[in-house]
């Protein structure tokens, strides 16, 4: 039985015309975050459209308008939270007391934390490393003891394996000139 309150319940529905979708989503983003500048709203709208397309790619939709509404609202809220995270990662902080309200001068290209997770997992996937399975489980929200139980090992052994995986990745990042090296600095005091 389909749940009428769930916009992704497996019933047939289609997104309206793409221009209409964009206009609708932008309006809902603006409604959720009325204080944002127009270029911020455009940016969030574009991200909401990606999310919407992912949902449509993965499942049938029942109520297109409810889905668009929900995706636009959540994307706007997540974006505002992410901006605070960017500030904490990227804003300058030279002293012991951190600044109260610091934002990076330049807006980053996507959430640095999301980019880091993607890069770590993808690196292991591309190299066909067993670390990929561990990364998937860890990023998927499994605790170390749960992974240990599933794989028949101790939690300490799983944690050690993850540390080894990260060490190998950092070795490969050492000569890299991209932002990943800054986001994943060397272990210890280095």
């Amino acid at each position: 039985m389909a749940d009428p309150s769930d916009p992704t319940s497996p019933e047939s529905a289609r997104l309206p015309d793409w221009a209409e979708v964009r206009t609708f989503v932008r309006r809902r983003v603006r409604h959720t975050a009325p204080a944002l500048r127009d270029d911020d709203v455009d940016e969030i709208t574009q991200e909401a459209l990606v999310r919407l397309l992912r949902v449509v790619e993965r499942t049938s939709i029942r109520n297109a308008e409810a889905l668009m509404n929900e995706v636009a609202r959540r994307t706007a809220i997540d974006h505002l939270r992410a901006r605070t995270r960017w500030a904490r990662v990227l804003a300058p902080w030279d002293g012991i007391e951190p600044p109260e309200d610091a934002f990076p001068v330049e807006r980053p290209l996507a959430d640095p934390v999301e980019r880091l997770r993607f890069a770590v997992l993808e690196f292991f996937v591309v190299n066909d490393a067993p670390c990929a399975d561990l990364a998937r489980a860890h990023f998927g929200g499994w605790r170390w003891d749960e992974i240990a139980e599933r794989t028949g090992r101790s939690a300490a052994a799983v944690r050690k394996q993850w540390s080894r995986c990260l060490r190998v990745l950092r070795e490969h990042l050492a000569p890299d000139d991209g932002p990943l090296r800054d986001l994943l600095p060397p272990g210890g005091d280095a």
């Binding site: 497996p10 793409w18 397309l53 790619e57 499942t59 951190p98 934390v113 993607f118 190299n127 600095p185």
Partner: protein, 277 residues
């Protein structure tokens, strides 16, 4: 950053901490510092690891949303990884197409391998192409009185073995059965070569139509060799997958194709691989 500036040491690792990619020693050290430093604790609070954060199994939405900017600004290993993912991810390519972006706008960069370079095998086609390039360059230089500066050619991308879902297959597809047969029974025999792709089909697992199916190919040592995702839109009368070694040498022995949906295994079919002679 050193122990002389413990706050700076912590700050430099907040992104890694938030993403869950600190090793055990650094994580313990960071946690100990946060426990005793109210200022850093306040600063770090929005970055507290979140179990509901994206799992990193697709290019971040923010990068796809701003693809033209990403194509210009991303560089190094990150650029190579994003490009490689989009190359094999049907879903990400479909989204880019819907947004009117060209996946090829991200030009290639090589991904460093975990395997030492001297032990890796290059596909014959690459070696032949490289030989031709060398011959052509030598011949060109021999004709010219003075060499002109030449921009370095982009390095070839070393591709990993790939498994991808397909809707159609030919008569030569290998049909796998579930459950895995006993040790005494004959398994389907598959001859694999580095430059030869093979198609597998399975019976239709008991999975609702709207649920995606995850497939993984497991090698003789139990390691996952390649993965694919069968989206509801790609579901045909039976799941079918093409395995392309992309120049890698397949290991001989017993392989398995495992299908899962909603985190539960729904199919496991085995076959025996022999290498082409």
């Amino acid at each position: 950053m050193s122990t002389h500036d413990p706050h700076g040491w912590v700050r430099a690792r907040l992104a890694a901490w938030s993403a869950g990619v600190l090793d055990d020693q650094d994580e313990a050290r960071l946690a100990a510092h946060l426990a005793g430093c109210a200022a850093c604790r306040t600063w770090a609070e929005p970055l507290t690891p979140d179990a509901d954060a994206p799992a990193g199994d697709h290019v971040p939405d923010g990068l796809l949303a701003h693809w033209p900017r990403a194509a210009v600004e991303l560089h190094g290993l990150e650029r190579a990884l994003v490009r490689r993912h989009v190359e094999r991810c049907v879903e990400c390519r479909a989204i880019l197409a819907r947004l009117g972006h060209d996946p090829a706008a991200m030009r290639p960069e090589p991904v460093p391998s975990l395997v030492p370079a001297r032990t890796r095998r290059l596909p014959t086609a690459w070696l032949a192409a490289a030989a031709l390039v060398v011959v052509a360059v030598v011949a060109t230089l021999a004709r010219r009185p003075a060499p002109a500066p030449v921009a370095p050619a982009p390095a070839p991308v070393a591709r990993a073995a790939e498994l991808r879902a397909v809707r159609e297959w030919g008569a030569d597809a290998v049909e796998l059965r579930d459950p895995v047969r006993g040790a005494g029974e004959a398994l389907p025999e598959v001859t694999l070569a580095p430059d030869r792709a093979v198609t597998f089909t399975t019976s239709q697992p008991d999975v609702p139509a709207g649920v995606p199916i995850e497939a993984r190919l497991v090698g003789p040592d139990g390691a996952t060799l390649a993965r694919a995702r069968l989206t509801p839109a790609d579901r045909g009368p039976r799941p079918a997958f093409v395995f392309d070694p992309h120049g890698t040498t397949p290991a001989e022995g017993r392989w398995e194709l495992v299908l899962s949906a909603n985190g539960a295994e729904v199919f496991r079919g085995a076959f025996r691989v022999t290498a082409a002679r």
